[in-house]
Symmetry: C2
Subunit: 296 residues, 2 copies
Amino acid sequence: MVVGLGQCSLDILGSLGQYPPVDSKCDLDKVLIQGGGPVATALVTLARLGVPGVFLGCVGDDDFGRRIARGLEREKVDCRHLLVESGASSQFSFVAVEQDGGRRTIFCHRGSCRPLIEDDLPAEMICSSRLLHLDGSHPAAALAAARLARANGVITVLDGGSWRPGIEELLPLIDHLVVSGRFAEHWVPGRPVQEILPVLLGFGCQAATVTNGEAGSHTQSRDGESFHLPAFSVKSVDTTGCGDVFHGGYLFGLLQNWSLLRTVRFSAACAAIKSTALGGRTAIPTLLAVEDFLSR
Amino acid sequence: MVVGLGQCSLDILGSLGQYPPVDSKCDLDKVLIQGGGPVATALVTLARLGVPGVFLGCVGDDDFGRRIARGLEREKVDCRHLLVESGASSQFSFVAVEQDGGRRTIFCHRGSCRPLIEDDLPAEMICSSRLLHLDGSHPAAALAAARLARANGVITVLDGGSWRPGIEELLPLIDHLVVSGRFAEHWVPGRPVQEILPVLLGFGCQAATVTNGEAGSHTQSRDGESFHLPAFSVKSVDTTGCGDVFHGGYLFGLLQNWSLLRTVRFSAACAAIKSTALGGRTAIPTLLAVEDFLSR
């Protein structure tokens, strides 16, 4: 079983010709409303690949929260431990996506839900799972969950999107660090990724990967394995959620006990396929679709 | 009775420090969801001033459409002729508002509702009303409604926001043109407003006003009256909907048979008060509040 603890949000995506200057008005050609959030979308990916997981997080009891929960349940993500906070507003993002090339600008509202704490965690479920996926949100609960995981031989994976206070405490409890270039930059500003990876490994993980969108990814393991994978070349329509989907693929690879190289290549394929349609989840592939893509 | 025929939308307003560059991510400090649209918000203004009107327009049978209708009904705007189109998506805008100064950038999706046509109009209701307010949307229905109004001595007012094809047909049927600087620019590009007003009067209206936000408004009447009013000085938080609220005040002045000067001054006060809070409708004043503001 896979347990994910992190953010979930409602994304309103609008596609447009060109991102407008301040104080002007522009028309959106298309609007799409769907769930988002790093851990939530990683679990949706995993479910489409055939492995339903359990999501731990929080929504408000508003229209947006109901849509978030409905979206996860429809994808067969187990939401029985999703906290619904009375009177709170759910996390929401408006994402402006340029039609040509898929550059996206995100306006994110964190909402007013309280972060989960240790007492909110289904401890037994975490202890008996194979993987725990985190995104650095709900810091107190994430720390408690990672400690439980470590004590019970559960493999931990962290999606490091942007640096957050308190993340240093979490890092030594993580087995697989898969982080954005922006997150990596925080530790060794202005240095090439080859110098950043050893720093990340220094926190004690088994493997660290830095993803950089179209520039591909760099991976290094504690065993000395090291490789760069270019991104797959596809006609990208929307890069929203590409990182989240990469993580879903990575979790899948870990479950299969694949080599690191095969896992990262599979993850990159999932992300590339996802980018071919508007929305963070629209084009998340099935296992068959990824295999087909990789065999071309 | 006042009948308004035009746009209604759902606005999601997010306040932020500074409008972000393309391809970045920014946090919204506050999010507010409320109804918008030129004619719909003008009717909300009129209702708060004490005169409930009838709204003619269209929404989809989606979450957004239900919120739009609920918002109008709560403000005592008569929605019995609001068309709810099955399977269509409602008009929606995301509005990014800078905290300092209230500059707003609008991302608008027109939705997929069909425009109203002549057969959708409650003809008797229009014929027996005192005022008909239009915003140039639903062109075929607007033209038919304006003809009915003209034939039955109903005063017509047009909110000209941006120029639309077909508006030339409508203009000769309008008694009061209250348009944005951008709309005026279409007719006489690059000329000072003093030269634009006679052009607008040339379409046959009784009075034409061009509003220019903080630069105030210019008005000219067929009788030769002409004046410039500076905008009231207030601490502006959000300029969304200021034009719509100006129109609501203008409709109110017409109903009272006030002089043009008094009507425009009252309208400008309504718009100024509105700008002091986030949202197109949040701070729309009551009659008492406008009188208090003007007597200071």
